[in-house]
Symmetry: C2
Subunit: 301 residues, 2 copies
Protein backbone atom coordinates (compact mmCIF):
# COMPACT_ATOMS: atom_id res chain seq x y z
CA UNK A 1 0.00 0.00 0.00
CA UNK A 2 1.21 3.46 -0.85
CA UNK A 3 1.37 5.74 2.15
CA UNK A 4 3.05 8.81 3.54
CA UNK A 5 3.40 10.24 7.01
CA UNK A 6 2.20 13.80 7.50
CA UNK A 7 3.74 15.57 10.47
CA UNK A 8 1.56 18.41 11.70
CA UNK A 9 3.45 21.59 12.57
CA UNK A 10 0.68 24.16 13.06
CA UNK A 11 1.06 24.35 16.86
CA UNK A 12 4.78 25.05 16.38
CA UNK A 13 5.68 26.55 12.99
CA UNK A 14 2.14 27.85 12.47
CA UNK A 15 2.04 29.80 15.71
CA UNK A 16 5.63 30.92 16.12
CA UNK A 17 5.37 33.97 13.86
CA UNK A 18 2.01 35.13 15.20
CA UNK A 19 2.21 38.39 17.11
CA UNK A 20 -0.71 37.61 19.40
CA UNK A 21 -0.22 35.07 22.17
CA UNK A 22 -2.50 32.09 21.69
CA UNK A 23 -3.92 31.08 25.09
CA UNK A 24 -2.65 27.79 26.48
CA UNK A 25 -6.07 26.13 26.45
CA UNK A 26 -6.46 27.00 22.76
CA UNK A 27 -3.07 25.49 21.95
CA UNK A 28 -4.02 22.31 23.77
CA UNK A 29 -7.40 22.24 22.00
CA UNK A 30 -5.66 22.67 18.63
CA UNK A 31 -3.35 19.73 19.31
CA UNK A 32 -6.27 17.55 20.42
CA UNK A 33 -8.34 18.45 17.36
CA UNK A 34 -5.41 17.66 15.06
CA UNK A 35 -4.91 14.33 16.80
CA UNK A 36 -8.64 13.65 16.35
CA UNK A 37 -8.24 14.37 12.61
CA UNK A 38 -5.66 11.59 12.45
CA UNK A 39 -2.30 13.39 12.64
CA UNK A 40 0.24 10.67 13.55
CA UNK A 41 2.78 13.18 14.89
CA UNK A 42 2.28 16.76 16.02
CA UNK A 43 4.97 19.32 16.76
CA UNK A 44 3.53 20.87 19.90
CA UNK A 45 5.94 23.81 20.27
CA UNK A 46 9.55 24.82 20.83
CA UNK A 47 11.44 24.56 24.10
CA UNK A 48 13.14 27.92 23.59
CA UNK A 49 13.75 30.76 26.02
CA UNK A 50 10.57 32.87 26.45
CA UNK A 51 12.51 35.97 25.42
CA UNK A 52 13.39 34.27 22.09
CA UNK A 53 9.82 33.28 21.14
CA UNK A 54 7.26 34.53 23.61
CA UNK A 55 4.55 32.41 21.95
CA UNK A 56 6.11 29.32 23.52
CA UNK A 57 6.44 30.59 27.06
CA UNK A 58 3.74 28.06 28.03
CA UNK A 59 5.29 25.12 26.17
CA UNK A 60 5.82 23.11 29.39
CA UNK A 61 2.17 23.35 30.33
CA UNK A 62 1.10 22.44 26.78
CA UNK A 63 3.50 19.49 26.74
CA UNK A 64 2.29 18.13 30.06
CA UNK A 65 -1.32 18.28 28.84
CA UNK A 66 -0.81 16.43 25.59
CA UNK A 67 2.14 14.09 26.04
CA UNK A 68 -0.12 11.13 26.73
CA UNK A 69 -2.67 11.77 23.95
CA UNK A 70 -3.66 8.48 22.43
CA UNK A 71 -2.68 7.63 18.85
CA UNK A 72 -0.37 10.57 18.30
CA UNK A 73 3.30 11.20 18.90
CA UNK A 74 3.92 14.68 20.28
CA UNK A 75 7.27 16.13 19.27
CA UNK A 76 8.98 19.42 20.01
CA UNK A 77 11.79 21.60 18.75
CA UNK A 78 14.79 22.02 21.02
CA UNK A 79 17.55 24.54 20.23
CA UNK A 80 19.98 23.22 22.85
CA UNK A 81 20.61 20.70 25.60
CA UNK A 82 18.66 22.70 28.14
CA UNK A 83 15.63 22.67 25.84
CA UNK A 84 16.04 18.94 25.28
CA UNK A 85 16.15 18.26 29.01
CA UNK A 86 13.09 20.43 29.58
CA UNK A 87 11.14 18.61 26.86
CA UNK A 88 12.06 15.20 28.26
CA UNK A 89 11.07 16.33 31.76
CA UNK A 90 7.62 17.21 30.37
CA UNK A 91 7.18 13.79 28.80
CA UNK A 92 8.08 14.70 25.23
CA UNK A 93 10.52 12.11 23.95
CA UNK A 94 10.58 12.90 20.23
CA UNK A 95 12.91 15.84 19.92
CA UNK A 96 13.83 17.92 16.90
CA UNK A 97 17.06 19.85 16.78
CA UNK A 98 17.56 22.36 14.01
CA UNK A 99 20.20 24.51 12.44
CA UNK A 100 20.65 26.24 9.09
CA UNK A 101 22.91 25.10 6.29
CA UNK A 102 23.47 28.80 5.62
CA UNK A 103 25.69 30.50 8.20
CA UNK A 104 23.97 33.85 7.86
CA UNK A 105 20.54 32.36 8.52
CA UNK A 106 21.83 30.35 11.47
CA UNK A 107 23.30 33.47 13.04
CA UNK A 108 20.02 35.32 12.45
CA UNK A 109 17.97 32.45 13.84
CA UNK A 110 19.97 31.04 16.74
CA UNK A 111 22.86 33.51 17.02
CA UNK A 112 25.63 31.02 16.44
CA UNK A 113 27.55 29.41 13.57
CA UNK A 114 26.51 26.05 12.11
CA UNK A 115 29.63 24.41 13.66
CA UNK A 116 28.56 25.72 17.07
CA UNK A 117 25.08 24.33 16.46
CA UNK A 118 26.68 20.98 15.67
CA UNK A 119 28.58 21.13 18.95
CA UNK A 120 25.28 21.67 20.73
CA UNK A 121 23.80 18.73 18.83
CA UNK A 122 26.70 16.56 19.96
CA UNK A 123 26.01 17.51 23.59
CA UNK A 124 22.34 16.65 23.14
CA UNK A 125 23.12 13.29 21.53
CA UNK A 126 25.42 12.37 24.40
CA UNK A 127 22.99 13.35 27.13
CA UNK A 128 19.81 11.79 25.75
CA UNK A 129 18.42 8.46 26.95
CA UNK A 130 18.68 5.74 24.30
CA UNK A 131 15.08 5.87 23.04
CA UNK A 132 15.08 9.66 22.67
CA UNK A 133 18.46 9.54 20.93
CA UNK A 134 17.12 6.95 18.51
CA UNK A 135 14.12 9.05 17.56
CA UNK A 136 15.98 12.38 17.50
CA UNK A 137 15.36 14.29 14.30
CA UNK A 138 17.52 17.04 12.89
CA UNK A 139 16.10 19.75 10.65
CA UNK A 140 18.40 21.41 8.14
CA UNK A 141 16.93 24.87 7.61
CA UNK A 142 17.53 26.86 4.39
CA UNK A 143 18.46 23.62 2.60
CA UNK A 144 17.00 25.06 -0.62
CA UNK A 145 18.08 28.66 -0.35
CA UNK A 146 18.65 31.44 2.15
CA UNK A 147 17.03 34.87 2.26
CA UNK A 148 20.40 36.40 3.18
CA UNK A 149 22.93 34.54 1.08
CA UNK A 150 20.84 33.13 -1.78
CA UNK A 151 21.62 29.79 -3.27
CA UNK A 152 22.50 26.84 -1.02
CA UNK A 153 24.34 24.15 -2.93
CA UNK A 154 23.64 20.46 -2.81
CA UNK A 155 27.26 19.98 -1.71
CA UNK A 156 26.65 22.20 1.32
CA UNK A 157 23.54 20.22 2.23
CA UNK A 158 25.42 16.93 1.87
CA UNK A 159 28.23 18.17 4.11
CA UNK A 160 25.69 19.11 6.78
CA UNK A 161 23.94 15.75 6.45
CA UNK A 162 27.24 13.95 6.84
CA UNK A 163 28.14 15.82 10.01
CA UNK A 164 24.74 15.07 11.52
CA UNK A 165 24.77 11.42 10.42
CA UNK A 166 28.21 10.96 12.01
CA UNK A 167 26.63 11.73 15.38
CA UNK A 168 24.31 8.74 14.99
CA UNK A 169 21.18 10.71 14.02
CA UNK A 170 18.90 8.68 11.72
CA UNK A 171 16.13 11.19 10.89
CA UNK A 172 17.02 14.27 8.90
CA UNK A 173 14.59 16.73 7.34
CA UNK A 174 15.53 19.11 4.55
CA UNK A 175 13.62 22.34 5.07
CA UNK A 176 12.69 24.86 2.43
CA UNK A 177 12.44 27.52 5.08
CA UNK A 178 11.50 30.40 2.79
CA UNK A 179 10.02 28.81 -0.31
CA UNK A 180 13.10 28.85 -2.55
CA UNK A 181 12.93 25.20 -3.66
CA UNK A 182 11.67 23.95 -6.97
CA UNK A 183 11.08 20.42 -8.27
CA UNK A 184 14.52 20.31 -9.88
CA UNK A 185 16.43 21.24 -6.72
CA UNK A 186 14.16 18.98 -4.67
CA UNK A 187 15.06 16.09 -6.94
CA UNK A 188 18.73 16.94 -6.98
CA UNK A 189 19.14 17.36 -3.23
CA UNK A 190 17.03 14.44 -2.07
CA UNK A 191 18.33 11.99 -4.64
CA UNK A 192 21.93 12.73 -3.63
CA UNK A 193 20.94 12.37 0.02
CA UNK A 194 19.33 8.98 -0.62
CA UNK A 195 22.29 7.83 -2.69
CA UNK A 196 24.97 8.80 -0.19
CA UNK A 197 23.10 8.16 3.07
CA UNK A 198 20.87 5.12 2.59
CA UNK A 199 20.72 4.56 6.35
CA UNK A 200 18.99 7.92 6.98
CA UNK A 201 15.23 8.52 6.93
CA UNK A 202 14.87 11.81 5.07
CA UNK A 203 11.82 14.01 5.55
CA UNK A 204 10.68 17.14 3.71
CA UNK A 205 9.49 20.45 5.11
CA UNK A 206 8.22 22.75 2.40
CA UNK A 207 6.89 26.27 2.60
CA UNK A 208 4.42 27.38 -0.02
CA UNK A 209 5.76 30.93 -0.19
CA UNK A 210 5.81 30.94 -3.98
CA UNK A 211 3.12 28.34 -4.62
CA UNK A 212 5.47 25.46 -5.43
CA UNK A 213 5.15 23.38 -2.26
CA UNK A 214 2.65 20.86 -3.71
CA UNK A 215 4.85 20.38 -6.79
CA UNK A 216 7.90 20.06 -4.55
CA UNK A 217 6.13 17.50 -2.35
CA UNK A 218 5.10 15.55 -5.43
CA UNK A 219 8.67 15.42 -6.71
CA UNK A 220 9.98 14.49 -3.27
CA UNK A 221 7.46 11.64 -3.16
CA UNK A 222 8.51 10.58 -6.67
CA UNK A 223 12.06 10.03 -5.52
CA UNK A 224 11.27 8.31 -2.25
CA UNK A 225 10.46 10.81 0.52
CA UNK A 226 7.66 9.46 2.72
CA UNK A 227 7.59 11.95 5.59
CA UNK A 228 6.23 15.47 5.08
CA UNK A 229 5.68 18.39 7.45
CA UNK A 230 2.64 20.60 6.96
CA UNK A 231 0.53 23.07 8.88
CA UNK A 232 -3.28 22.96 9.19
CA UNK A 233 -4.82 25.83 7.24
CA UNK A 234 -1.38 26.77 5.97
CA UNK A 235 -1.16 28.58 9.29
CA UNK A 236 2.01 30.59 9.63
CA UNK A 237 3.70 33.15 7.50
CA UNK A 238 7.16 33.85 6.25
CA UNK A 239 8.92 36.74 7.97
CA UNK A 240 11.12 37.16 4.87
CA UNK A 241 8.21 37.49 2.42
CA UNK A 242 5.49 39.52 4.14
CA UNK A 243 1.99 38.74 2.90
CA UNK A 244 2.94 35.38 1.50
CA UNK A 245 1.83 32.01 2.74
CA UNK A 246 3.98 29.89 5.01
CA UNK A 247 3.99 26.14 5.44
CA UNK A 248 2.10 24.07 2.95
CA UNK A 249 -1.42 23.51 4.28
CA UNK A 250 -1.96 20.05 5.75
CA UNK A 251 -5.37 19.70 4.10
CA UNK A 252 -3.90 20.56 0.67
CA UNK A 253 -1.10 18.04 1.14
CA UNK A 254 -3.51 15.37 2.38
CA UNK A 255 -5.90 16.15 -0.49
CA UNK A 256 -3.12 15.74 -3.04
CA UNK A 257 -1.86 12.45 -1.69
CA UNK A 258 -5.26 10.93 -0.91
CA UNK A 259 -6.62 11.89 -4.34
CA UNK A 260 -3.63 10.08 -5.81
CA UNK A 261 -4.50 6.97 -3.82
CA UNK A 262 -1.68 7.50 -1.32
CA UNK A 263 -2.84 7.01 2.26
CA UNK A 264 -2.15 9.61 4.94
CA UNK A 265 -4.40 8.28 7.69
CA UNK A 266 -5.93 11.73 8.05
CA UNK A 267 -9.56 12.77 7.77
CA UNK A 268 -10.05 15.71 5.39
CA UNK A 269 -13.47 16.71 6.71
CA UNK A 270 -12.19 16.83 10.26
CA UNK A 271 -9.15 18.76 9.09
CA UNK A 272 -11.34 21.36 7.39
CA UNK A 273 -13.30 21.69 10.64
CA UNK A 274 -10.02 22.38 12.43
CA UNK A 275 -9.42 25.15 9.85
CA UNK A 276 -12.88 26.62 10.52
CA UNK A 277 -12.12 26.63 14.21
CA UNK A 278 -8.64 28.12 13.67
CA UNK A 279 -10.12 30.94 11.61
CA UNK A 280 -12.59 31.61 14.42
CA UNK A 281 -10.05 31.70 17.25
CA UNK A 282 -7.38 33.47 15.17
CA UNK A 283 -9.38 35.94 13.05
CA UNK A 284 -6.23 37.97 12.37
CA UNK A 285 -4.33 34.97 10.98
CA UNK A 286 -4.36 34.38 7.26
CA UNK A 287 -5.25 30.79 6.45
CA UNK A 288 -3.68 30.19 3.08
CA UNK A 289 -4.90 26.71 2.24
CA UNK A 290 -6.54 26.32 -1.17
CA UNK A 291 -8.87 23.50 -0.13
CA UNK A 292 -10.12 25.55 2.82
CA UNK A 293 -11.08 28.33 0.38
CA UNK A 294 -12.56 26.06 -2.30
CA UNK A 295 -14.04 23.23 -0.25
CA UNK A 296 -13.88 19.53 -0.95
CA UNK A 297 -15.03 18.42 -4.40
CA UNK A 298 -17.69 16.15 -2.95
CA UNK A 299 -18.96 15.10 -6.37
CA UNK A 300 -15.64 13.54 -7.25
CA UNK A 301 -14.49 10.20 -5.96
CA UNK B 1 17.11 22.92 -24.74
CA UNK B 2 14.19 22.27 -22.45
CA UNK B 3 11.28 24.59 -23.11
CA UNK B 4 7.55 24.93 -22.76
CA UNK B 5 4.99 27.20 -24.36
CA UNK B 6 2.83 29.22 -21.99
CA UNK B 7 -0.47 30.37 -23.48
CA UNK B 8 -1.82 33.42 -21.71
CA UNK B 9 -5.56 33.30 -21.01
CA UNK B 10 -6.11 36.28 -18.68
CA UNK B 11 -7.91 38.43 -21.28
CA UNK B 12 -10.30 35.53 -21.92
CA UNK B 13 -10.64 33.07 -19.00
CA UNK B 14 -9.43 35.68 -16.51
CA UNK B 15 -12.05 38.26 -17.46
CA UNK B 16 -15.03 36.12 -18.37
CA UNK B 17 -16.29 35.61 -14.84
CA UNK B 18 -15.79 39.21 -13.74
CA UNK B 19 -19.02 41.03 -13.05
CA UNK B 20 -17.71 44.45 -14.00
CA UNK B 21 -17.14 45.24 -17.67
CA UNK B 22 -13.48 45.92 -18.35
CA UNK B 23 -13.23 48.88 -20.77
CA UNK B 24 -12.02 48.05 -24.25
CA UNK B 25 -8.89 50.17 -23.97
CA UNK B 26 -7.92 48.34 -20.78
CA UNK B 27 -8.38 44.96 -22.45
CA UNK B 28 -6.17 46.07 -25.33
CA UNK B 29 -3.59 47.45 -22.90
CA UNK B 30 -3.59 44.14 -21.00
CA UNK B 31 -2.95 42.16 -24.17
CA UNK B 32 -0.13 44.52 -25.21
CA UNK B 33 1.49 44.32 -21.78
CA UNK B 34 1.33 40.52 -21.81
CA UNK B 35 2.88 40.48 -25.28
CA UNK B 36 5.61 42.80 -23.99
CA UNK B 37 6.26 40.31 -21.16
CA UNK B 38 6.95 37.65 -23.77
CA UNK B 39 3.70 35.68 -24.04
CA UNK B 40 3.95 33.73 -27.33
CA UNK B 41 0.16 33.29 -27.64
CA UNK B 42 -2.63 35.21 -25.95
CA UNK B 43 -6.30 34.28 -25.85
CA UNK B 44 -7.84 37.69 -26.46
CA UNK B 45 -11.50 36.81 -25.80
CA UNK B 46 -14.47 34.73 -26.89
CA UNK B 47 -16.56 35.33 -29.99
CA UNK B 48 -19.80 34.55 -28.19
CA UNK B 49 -23.16 36.28 -28.27
CA UNK B 50 -23.12 39.40 -26.04
CA UNK B 51 -26.11 38.02 -24.12
CA UNK B 52 -24.07 34.91 -23.27
CA UNK B 53 -21.00 36.72 -21.90
CA UNK B 54 -21.43 40.48 -21.81
CA UNK B 55 -17.73 40.93 -20.97
CA UNK B 56 -16.88 40.03 -24.58
CA UNK B 57 -19.36 42.32 -26.33
CA UNK B 58 -16.36 44.34 -27.55
CA UNK B 59 -14.34 41.35 -28.73
CA UNK B 60 -14.35 42.49 -32.36
CA UNK B 61 -12.86 45.84 -31.47
CA UNK B 62 -10.25 44.18 -29.24
CA UNK B 63 -9.38 41.69 -31.97
CA UNK B 64 -8.92 44.35 -34.63
CA UNK B 65 -6.61 46.31 -32.35
CA UNK B 66 -4.28 43.45 -31.49
CA UNK B 67 -4.33 40.99 -34.35
CA UNK B 68 -1.14 42.40 -35.85
CA UNK B 69 0.82 42.69 -32.60
CA UNK B 70 4.42 41.71 -33.26
CA UNK B 71 5.83 38.52 -31.75
CA UNK B 72 2.58 37.16 -30.39
CA UNK B 73 -0.17 34.97 -31.80
CA UNK B 74 -3.60 36.18 -30.77
CA UNK B 75 -6.15 33.40 -30.43
CA UNK B 76 -9.82 33.37 -29.52
CA UNK B 77 -12.52 31.01 -28.34
CA UNK B 78 -15.37 30.32 -30.75
CA UNK B 79 -18.46 28.36 -29.67
CA UNK B 80 -19.83 27.89 -33.21
CA UNK B 81 -19.35 28.59 -36.92
CA UNK B 82 -20.70 32.10 -36.64
CA UNK B 83 -18.14 32.88 -33.96
CA UNK B 84 -15.38 31.34 -36.08
CA UNK B 85 -16.34 33.47 -39.07
CA UNK B 86 -16.47 36.60 -36.95
CA UNK B 87 -13.03 35.88 -35.51
CA UNK B 88 -11.52 35.29 -38.95
CA UNK B 89 -13.13 38.51 -40.23
CA UNK B 90 -11.35 40.40 -37.43
CA UNK B 91 -7.97 38.92 -38.37
CA UNK B 92 -7.80 36.21 -35.69
CA UNK B 93 -6.75 32.99 -37.37
CA UNK B 94 -5.95 30.81 -34.36
CA UNK B 95 -9.32 29.57 -33.19
CA UNK B 96 -10.23 27.48 -30.18
CA UNK B 97 -13.39 25.45 -30.09
CA UNK B 98 -14.51 23.93 -26.82
CA UNK B 99 -16.97 21.48 -25.39
CA UNK B 100 -17.24 19.45 -22.22
CA UNK B 101 -16.58 15.75 -21.90
CA UNK B 102 -19.38 15.78 -19.32
CA UNK B 103 -22.86 16.15 -20.84
CA UNK B 104 -24.25 18.01 -17.85
CA UNK B 105 -21.49 20.59 -17.94
CA UNK B 106 -21.82 21.02 -21.70
CA UNK B 107 -25.55 21.67 -21.34
CA UNK B 108 -24.89 24.17 -18.55
CA UNK B 109 -22.15 25.87 -20.52
CA UNK B 110 -23.31 25.89 -24.15
CA UNK B 111 -26.85 24.52 -23.89
CA UNK B 112 -26.32 21.49 -26.08
CA UNK B 113 -25.11 17.90 -25.87
CA UNK B 114 -21.47 16.95 -26.59
CA UNK B 115 -22.58 15.24 -29.87
CA UNK B 116 -24.24 18.48 -30.96
CA UNK B 117 -21.06 20.36 -30.10
CA UNK B 118 -19.15 17.87 -32.26
CA UNK B 119 -21.55 18.57 -35.13
CA UNK B 120 -20.82 22.27 -34.74
CA UNK B 121 -17.10 21.49 -34.74
CA UNK B 122 -17.51 19.54 -37.96
CA UNK B 123 -19.19 22.55 -39.58
CA UNK B 124 -16.36 24.79 -38.43
CA UNK B 125 -13.69 22.41 -39.73
CA UNK B 126 -15.35 22.30 -43.14
CA UNK B 127 -15.77 26.05 -43.45
CA UNK B 128 -12.33 27.16 -42.29
CA UNK B 129 -9.54 28.19 -44.66
CA UNK B 130 -6.68 25.67 -44.68
CA UNK B 131 -4.29 27.60 -42.40
CA UNK B 132 -6.97 28.24 -39.77
CA UNK B 133 -8.10 24.61 -39.94
CA UNK B 134 -4.53 23.49 -39.40
CA UNK B 135 -4.07 25.61 -36.31
CA UNK B 136 -7.54 24.96 -34.89
CA UNK B 137 -7.40 23.85 -31.27
CA UNK B 138 -10.11 22.01 -29.41
CA UNK B 139 -10.48 22.28 -25.63
CA UNK B 140 -12.04 19.39 -23.75
CA UNK B 141 -13.59 20.95 -20.67
CA UNK B 142 -14.20 18.96 -17.46
CA UNK B 143 -11.62 16.38 -18.63
CA UNK B 144 -10.65 15.76 -14.98
CA UNK B 145 -14.04 15.98 -13.30
CA UNK B 146 -17.35 17.78 -13.47
CA UNK B 147 -19.04 19.85 -10.77
CA UNK B 148 -22.40 18.28 -11.72
CA UNK B 149 -21.61 14.65 -12.44
CA UNK B 150 -18.35 14.07 -10.57
CA UNK B 151 -15.74 11.77 -11.96
CA UNK B 152 -14.88 11.87 -15.67
CA UNK B 153 -13.18 8.67 -16.75
CA UNK B 154 -10.09 8.39 -18.90
CA UNK B 155 -12.16 6.28 -21.31
CA UNK B 156 -14.62 9.18 -21.75
CA UNK B 157 -11.77 11.58 -22.44
CA UNK B 158 -10.23 9.19 -24.97
CA UNK B 159 -13.57 8.81 -26.78
CA UNK B 160 -13.87 12.58 -27.04
CA UNK B 161 -10.28 12.89 -28.26
CA UNK B 162 -10.90 10.26 -30.91
CA UNK B 163 -13.98 12.04 -32.23
CA UNK B 164 -12.11 15.34 -32.43
CA UNK B 165 -9.02 13.76 -34.00
CA UNK B 166 -11.17 12.11 -36.67
CA UNK B 167 -12.15 15.60 -37.87
CA UNK B 168 -8.52 16.36 -38.61
CA UNK B 169 -7.86 18.53 -35.54
CA UNK B 170 -4.24 18.30 -34.38
CA UNK B 171 -4.23 20.41 -31.20
CA UNK B 172 -6.28 19.22 -28.24
CA UNK B 173 -6.15 20.61 -24.72
CA UNK B 174 -7.38 18.72 -21.68
CA UNK B 175 -8.93 21.21 -19.29
CA UNK B 176 -9.28 20.83 -15.55
CA UNK B 177 -12.12 23.32 -15.58
CA UNK B 178 -12.87 23.24 -11.86
CA UNK B 179 -9.70 22.00 -10.20
CA UNK B 180 -10.56 18.32 -9.82
CA UNK B 181 -7.36 16.91 -11.29
CA UNK B 182 -4.48 15.46 -9.35
CA UNK B 183 -1.05 14.25 -10.46
CA UNK B 184 -2.26 10.65 -10.75
CA UNK B 185 -5.21 11.46 -13.04
CA UNK B 186 -3.05 13.90 -14.99
CA UNK B 187 -0.53 11.13 -15.60
CA UNK B 188 -3.20 8.57 -16.43
CA UNK B 189 -5.15 10.74 -18.87
CA UNK B 190 -2.26 12.35 -20.70
CA UNK B 191 -0.20 9.17 -20.98
CA UNK B 192 -3.12 7.32 -22.56
CA UNK B 193 -3.68 10.27 -24.90
CA UNK B 194 -0.03 10.27 -25.97
CA UNK B 195 -0.02 6.51 -26.42
CA UNK B 196 -3.18 6.33 -28.52
CA UNK B 197 -2.89 9.62 -30.43
CA UNK B 198 0.78 10.25 -31.17
CA UNK B 199 -0.14 12.60 -34.01
CA UNK B 200 -1.92 15.06 -31.68
CA UNK B 201 -0.27 17.96 -29.85
CA UNK B 202 -1.80 17.84 -26.38
CA UNK B 203 -1.94 20.90 -24.16
CA UNK B 204 -2.93 21.33 -20.52
CA UNK B 205 -5.24 23.86 -18.94
CA UNK B 206 -5.21 23.63 -15.16
CA UNK B 207 -7.17 25.56 -12.58
CA UNK B 208 -5.64 26.01 -9.17
CA UNK B 209 -8.95 25.74 -7.33
CA UNK B 210 -7.55 23.31 -4.77
CA UNK B 211 -3.89 24.29 -4.96
CA UNK B 212 -2.75 21.37 -7.10
CA UNK B 213 -2.22 23.12 -10.45
CA UNK B 214 1.57 23.48 -10.10
CA UNK B 215 1.88 19.79 -9.15
CA UNK B 216 -0.42 18.85 -12.03
CA UNK B 217 1.62 20.97 -14.44
CA UNK B 218 4.81 19.33 -13.21
CA UNK B 219 3.40 15.86 -13.75
CA UNK B 220 2.05 16.83 -17.18
CA UNK B 221 5.53 18.10 -18.08
CA UNK B 222 7.08 14.86 -16.78
CA UNK B 223 5.08 12.82 -19.25
CA UNK B 224 5.56 15.08 -22.25
CA UNK B 225 3.10 18.01 -22.27
CA UNK B 226 4.83 21.14 -23.54
CA UNK B 227 1.93 23.60 -23.89
CA UNK B 228 0.27 25.10 -20.82
CA UNK B 229 -2.48 27.67 -20.38
CA UNK B 230 -2.27 30.14 -17.52
CA UNK B 231 -3.64 33.49 -16.46
CA UNK B 232 -1.57 36.48 -15.31
CA UNK B 233 -2.11 37.08 -11.59
CA UNK B 234 -4.23 33.93 -11.44
CA UNK B 235 -6.96 36.31 -12.63
CA UNK B 236 -10.31 34.62 -12.81
CA UNK B 237 -12.37 32.63 -10.39
CA UNK B 238 -14.32 29.45 -10.41
CA UNK B 239 -18.11 29.87 -10.42
CA UNK B 240 -18.44 26.39 -8.90
CA UNK B 241 -16.16 27.09 -5.94
CA UNK B 242 -16.81 30.65 -4.78
CA UNK B 243 -13.85 32.31 -3.11
CA UNK B 244 -11.35 29.93 -4.62
CA UNK B 245 -8.71 30.75 -7.16
CA UNK B 246 -9.16 30.08 -10.86
CA UNK B 247 -6.53 29.49 -13.51
CA UNK B 248 -3.01 28.83 -12.40
CA UNK B 249 -1.15 32.14 -12.32
CA UNK B 250 1.16 32.66 -15.29
CA UNK B 251 3.92 34.07 -13.12
CA UNK B 252 3.77 31.02 -10.79
CA UNK B 253 3.92 28.65 -13.74
CA UNK B 254 6.77 30.61 -15.36
CA UNK B 255 8.58 30.74 -12.02
CA UNK B 256 8.31 26.97 -11.59
CA UNK B 257 9.55 26.13 -15.06
CA UNK B 258 12.27 28.79 -15.26
CA UNK B 259 13.60 27.86 -11.81
CA UNK B 260 13.85 24.27 -13.09
CA UNK B 261 15.90 25.47 -16.07
CA UNK B 262 13.00 25.06 -18.51
CA UNK B 263 12.65 28.07 -20.80
CA UNK B 264 9.31 29.85 -21.23
CA UNK B 265 10.50 32.94 -23.10
CA UNK B 266 8.67 35.10 -20.58
CA UNK B 267 10.02 37.87 -18.37
CA UNK B 268 9.01 37.43 -14.73
CA UNK B 269 9.68 41.01 -13.70
CA UNK B 270 7.52 42.33 -16.51
CA UNK B 271 4.83 39.79 -15.65
CA UNK B 272 4.79 40.96 -12.03
CA UNK B 273 4.40 44.53 -13.31
CA UNK B 274 1.38 43.39 -15.32
CA UNK B 275 -0.03 41.98 -12.06
CA UNK B 276 0.55 45.31 -10.28
CA UNK B 277 -1.28 47.06 -13.08
CA UNK B 278 -4.11 44.50 -13.07
CA UNK B 279 -4.60 44.97 -9.34
CA UNK B 280 -4.78 48.72 -9.90
CA UNK B 281 -7.34 48.62 -12.72
CA UNK B 282 -9.34 45.75 -11.19
CA UNK B 283 -9.26 46.47 -7.45
CA UNK B 284 -12.25 44.18 -6.91
CA UNK B 285 -10.56 41.20 -8.57
CA UNK B 286 -8.72 38.73 -6.41
CA UNK B 287 -5.25 38.06 -7.77
CA UNK B 288 -4.40 34.64 -6.44
CA UNK B 289 -0.82 34.20 -7.62
CA UNK B 290 1.65 33.18 -4.93
CA UNK B 291 4.66 34.89 -6.52
CA UNK B 292 2.73 38.16 -6.76
CA UNK B 293 2.11 37.98 -2.99
CA UNK B 294 5.61 36.85 -2.05
CA UNK B 295 7.78 38.56 -4.65
CA UNK B 296 10.70 37.15 -6.56
CA UNK B 297 13.45 35.56 -4.49
CA UNK B 298 16.05 37.92 -5.85
CA UNK B 299 18.84 36.48 -3.73
CA UNK B 300 18.50 33.12 -5.40
CA UNK B 301 19.85 32.28 -8.79
Amino acid sequence: MKEVKIIEVAPRDGLQNLQAFVPTDKKIALIKKLAHAGAPEIQIGSFVAPQAISQFRDVREVARSVHRLRGVVPSALVPNRRGAEAALACGISRLIFFFSVSSKHNYANVKQSPPDSLKELRLICRSLPADAAESLRVDLATAFGCPFSGNVTTAAVLRAVEKVATLGVRKITLCDTVGFGNPRTVEEKFSECFRLFPEIQFGAHFHNTRGLAPANALRAYDIGVRSFDSSAGGLGGCPYAPGSSGNIATEDMVFMFESMGIKTGMDLKKLLKVCDWLQKILPQAKLSGALFAAGLPDRIR
